[in-house]
């Protein structure tokens, strides 16, 4: 078994990992390694051939592949070591990684710091509790995207899409362009799950119907999918009897949500936030295990890749500082808590003495509201105020607090989103 020592190991060569690796190197750490299980870098972006990526960072609309390429080129220019077709099978609490590939077998790597950047995974048919049989022809949207965009195969002729998250919307358009008849997009909730611009560009432009408060309750067909039963649901998301309708199709595409992939994080027994389903992180996205950082969708599912890259860079700077012994791990800490109409806040806590100039907060609202004010409130002081015309659960909010405003010794900052009273 090979053994080696690396200052910073990044697990995952998608957008979070790439940004993190570049940042670590920029900070003067040369012994950096990206471990990627695929044969090429870029993660899920490789199959995202649609545009709309990088508006924030590059000021233009790129495809997912182009967005990734910008980082991949830099990783190569900076001569960052990449272990591709390599997978991490174990992490121990003393930061030893066991990685494997076909050529080297198992390699034991002692790490100075680790950045977890494994991304997220799709929720499955069973997790959406669809009843009936288990035929062929029920696939997650990401799998369909891979088949169509990477492999060049169509998995059906007539499709029903469950879930109006961005991936569902993107795939509605993609499948239509490939000649698959998309019979409709069905959404359990009262409002769509994806970005507003995607509703317009992917459904409206192609006359694909969107059925809100409607869900797929049953699959039919023993071997191959023959059809699905859809039904309307009431406010409590219970099926309304009599509203059932049978739709013939040979493909059911599931876009029913993403879950941070934390198999490895769980091996370390680090604290997981039940709201984000990802690790609890601090100002540099360090997890509850010292020297283990997390970046991108491992932490929480972001809706823009630009944010993923930013968190990668933040974790990269943190890991570099950690290796150099420049992070002060002592207390006090200030917790960041979701308040009024906020479902979670990332990071979950910070140490004022480690903060960079600005502290970005990533959070989502619980429900759609118009004319609101975002506030971040400390013990007895409001650190941040900003007005928004409209806020929606699918659109993540990012607000930056000026760090110097935060008072030393504040135990808690609460983030609220409240309607502005009509004065």
């Amino acid at each position: 078994m090979n053994k080696r020592q690396v200052d910073v190991v990044i697990i995952g060569g998608g957008p979070a990992g790439l940004a993190a690796a570049i940042e670590v190197k920029k900070q003067g750490i040369d012994n950096v390694l990206i471990i990627e299980r695929d044969s090429s870098l870029g993660g899920i972006l490789q199959q995202c051939i649609h545009d709309g990526f990088g508006l924030h960072r590059f000021g233009k609309r790129l495809s997912g592949c182009e967005y990734a390429d910008n980082f991949i080129v830099e990783v190569k220019e900076r001569k960052i070591e990449i272990a591709d077709k390599t997978i991490v099978i174990e992490i121990t609490k003393d930061k030893v990684i066991y990685a494997m590939n076909e050529i080297d077998g198992i390699t034991e790597i002692k790490c100075g710091a680790i950045i977890l950047a494994m991304g997220c995974r799709e929720r499955t048919r069973s997790q959406a509790f669809i009843w009936g049989t288990r035929p062929s022809g029920v696939l997650t949207a990401g799998t369909v995207q891979r088949y169509i965009n990477i492999e060049g195969y169509l998995p059906g002729e007539k499709a029903v899409i469950l879930g109006s998250g961005d991936i569902g919307l993107i795939m509605a358009r993609r499948m239509t362009l490939e000649g698959i008849e998309v019979k409709g997009v069905y959404e359990l909730m009262e409002s769509p799950g994806g970005l507003t611009r995607n509703i317009a560009q992917c459904l409206v432009d192609y006359n694909i119907p969107l059925h809100l408060s409607t869900t797929v309750i049953r699959t039919h067909g023993n071997k191959k999918l023959e059809g699905v039963t859809v039904a309307k649901v009431d406010k409590d998301r219970q099926v309304i009897k009599g509203s059932e309708e049978y739709i013939e199709c040979d493909l059911l595409v599931l876009a029913v949500g993403l879950i941070p992939e934390n198999e490895l994080s769980n091996q370390l027994n680090i604290n997981i936030d039940t709201r984000t389903k990802g690790p609890v992180v601090d100002e540099y996205f360090m997890t509850s295990m010292e020297g283990v950082f997390a970046a991108g969708n491992v932490v929480t599912v972001f809706d823009l890749v630009d944010y993923v890259s930013l968190t990668g860079e933040l974790a990269g700077r943190g890991a570099a500082k950690y290796v150099k012994g420049q992070l002060k791990m002592d207390k006090p800490i200030t917790r960041l808590e979701p308040g009024e109409n906020v479902s979670f806040v990332v990071p979950q806590y910070v140490r004022k003495h480690n903060l960079e100039e600005k502290l970005p907060l990533y959070f989502r609202v619980k429900q759609k509201l118009e004319k609101v004010e975002v506030t971040a409130v400390g013990n007895d002081e409001t650190y941040y105020k900003k007005k928004h015309r409209v806020v929606l659960p699918p659109e993540m909010l990012v607000e930056e607090i000026i760090s110097s405003n935060i008072k030393e010794g504040d135990k808690k900052i609460t983030v609220n989103v409240m309607e502005v009273s009509k004065e």
Partner: protein, 583 residues
């Protein structure tokens, strides 16, 4: 007496407007029911009521109900076609069905100088009840005293230890735990202890089976807590049956089939029996959807279709009714949360006809909730509904409140092949030479399988005294390496020997490309994505094949040298890919 009793039962039922039944009793005490009921459940009830009459050998229930649509397929055209196409094969023994019974029998017969063929309508072994089983090797305490089930369950359980050694499959004798939450139950079982140790229990007929079961232990509160620290509430005692074993049912079935194949048994998949031809009252040949197979012996292990097969030789004295059961699998994150299958006293009032589920564990450590039991008309109806899920979650909740519904990674249903006597039927046909019935094999069919095979072997031996054991028979089967169970050093060595073990395909369950290739080229080749899943575990984890599905599909296509569009999920027309987008 018996006939009088049956007439009374039928008359009573016919008083209810829902029923219109007529019954006839044959000389060999087979009752045939005809007529109608309003609901399917009533049809099944009628069958059970009559079967319970003392002296009735079995029940043929040809009743229908108003809530079903009978689906009778006419094979006469197909039979003619196959007879004419003149593709003809021959062997000594045809085993119909490659479930646990068929495979166990095949393996037992593979030691003899016999040409054995296993004919299976599905694309793989264990596709029906076997794969949907919860893997409990029951101790045999629940079987009704004096039944064939009772005898074969005890014997089968005992045989599993040697079998697992010979065939290299995992068997964990965890024991099964019945938990007591009140003094009354504790006392009830104290009496059982007294009866067992004094030998008095043997004299009490309903207890005679329980008295034969070895390895009973009475646990106090502390012992229960030590064994199962995560049980809800305050258990005050428990009853442990130490002989309960846990297996992966598919692994057992495939170990049996592989060993049988290695010893010369032929397996024919996607092959359905559509007729059986007799000459005088002896078996002449079977007709499948592809060919005719000349043979002397037919062993009917056709599960839910055993009655249809028996009809083909005019010796159908039982009806198989489908009893569906659903099981939910909990994420492996809960590994170690429970150590044994756990039952509660409150569950024991459930129908005796189906094995009570509750909470169980797989050898891999996944928790299982269920199964439930629902009578269904359609033998193919393996759907799961919200009511099934609610029920099996309730079973799980009985044991713990902590495991949440969101931790369920998948759920599925299987069909139990029950006859109306609710016992096993393992016997030579009394009418047709060379036909052996292995029917009504439901729970504890998995636990009993080795004993069923032994019994069939004896039947065959009686009929055919010149059976000889082959000189090259090898009862040992060596399982392929399981990468996930090896130490890092062993993993390293394995990859150096074959780099394909260095490529993880299924990341949830840590399954390598090497293992998938092994499965494709195993003695019983895996040719579908589900077949790969069951052999290797690729796709069994929490992402349910979302990540590895496309990769497994590619490997199958490459190894079998077929186009990607010809790879199926589960045989027949279950293709995953429709066509290439650009040609």
């Amino acid at each position: 007496m018996m006939e009088k009793r049956i007439r009374k039962i039928i008359a009573d039922m016919n008083k209810i407007a829902d029923y219109d039944i007529s019954a006839s009793v044959s000389r060999d005490k087979i009752v045939t029911l005809n007529g109608t009921a309003l609901y399917w459940k009533q049809v099944v009830d009628a069958g059970h009521k009559v079967a319970n009459v003392k002296g009735v050998r079995n029940v043929v229930n040809d009743m229908i109900s108003k809530d079903i649509k009978p689906n009778i397929i006419d094979y006469s055209k197909k039979i003619k076609e196959v007879k004419n196409n003149s593709i003809s094969e021959s062997c000594d023994v045809v085993i119909i069905g490659a479930g646990i019974s068929g495979c166990a029998i095949a393996r037992n017969l593979s030691k003899y100088n016999l040409n054995v063929m296993v004919v299976e309508k599905n694309s793989d072994i264990a596709e029906e009840a076997t794969k949907a089983n919860n893997g409990n090797i029951h101790p045999g305490v629940l079987a009704k005293p004096g039944t064939l089930k009772a005898k074969l369950n005890l014997r089968g359980n005992e045989m599993y230890t040697k079998l697992s050694e010979e065939l290299d499959f995992e068997l964990k004798r965890t024991g099964s735990l019945l938990v007591f939450y009140n003094k009354k139950d504790v006392n009830k079982f104290k009496i059982l202890k007294f009866l067992k140790y004094t030998g008095i229990g043997k004299l009490i007929k309903p207890l005679s089976q329980a008295m034969k079961v070895p390895g009973m232990k009475w646990l106090n509160t502390k012992e229960v807590r030590e064994l199962e620290p995560n049980l809800k509430g305050e258990p005050i005692g428990g009853f442990l049956l130490t002989t309960m074993g846990l297996v992966e049912p598919f692994e057992v079935c495939s170990a049996l089939a592989e060993n049988a194949a290695e010893n010369g048994v032929t397996f024919k998949f996607n092959t359905q029996i559509i007729d059986i031809v007799k000459e005088k009252e002896s078996i002449k040949e079977v007709i499948t959807n592809h060919s005719t197979i000349k043979c002397q012996t037919v062993i009917n292990c056709a599960g839910v279709y055993a009655d249809n097969i028996a009809k083909m030789v005019d010796d159908c004295f039982y009806t198989i009714h489908a009893r569906r059961g659903a099981i939910a699998i909990i994420d492996k994150n809960r590994k170690g949360y429970l150590n044994t299958p756990v039952g509660l006293m409150s569950d024991s009032d459930r129908s005796n006809n189906s094995k009570g589920g509750g909470a169980s564990v797989t050898p891999e450590g996944n928790l299982l909730w269920g199964p439930n039991a629902v009578e269904v008309y359609d033998k193919e109806d393996k759907s799961v509904d919200a009511v099934d899920m609610d029920y099996i979650i309730k079973l799980g909740r009985g044991v713990t409140d902590e495991v949440k519904k969101s931790e369920i990674i998948t759920y599925f249903a299987g069909i139990r092949a029950a006859d109306y006597k609710e016992d096993f039927i393992v016997e030579a046909s009394r009418k047709v030479d060379g036909f052996i019935h292995v029917a009504g094999i439901q729970s504890p069919g998995l636990a009993s399988a080795p004993a069923i095979a032994e019994m069939v072997e004896e039947i065959l031996f009686k009929q055919n005294s010149n059976l000889e054991i082959k000189s090259d028979y090898n009862p040992i089967r060596v399982a392929k390496p399981k990468f996930r169970d090896l130490s890092h050093e062993e993993q390293d060595k394995l990859i150096k020997k074959n780099p394909k073990y260095g490529n993880i395909v299924c990341r949830c369950e840590l399954i390598t490309e090497g293992e998938i290739i092994d499965a494709v080229h195993s003695p019983i080749p895996a040719t579908t994505i589900d077949a790969i899943k069951r052999r290797s575990r690729a796709g069994m984890g929490r992402c349910q094949g979302g990540f590895c599905g496309p990769r497994v599909l590619e490997i199958i296509a490459r190894e079998l040298e077929i186009p990607l569009t010809k790879v199926t999920l589960k045989g027949e027309n279950s293709y995953v890919l429709h066509r290439q987008s650009r040609v």
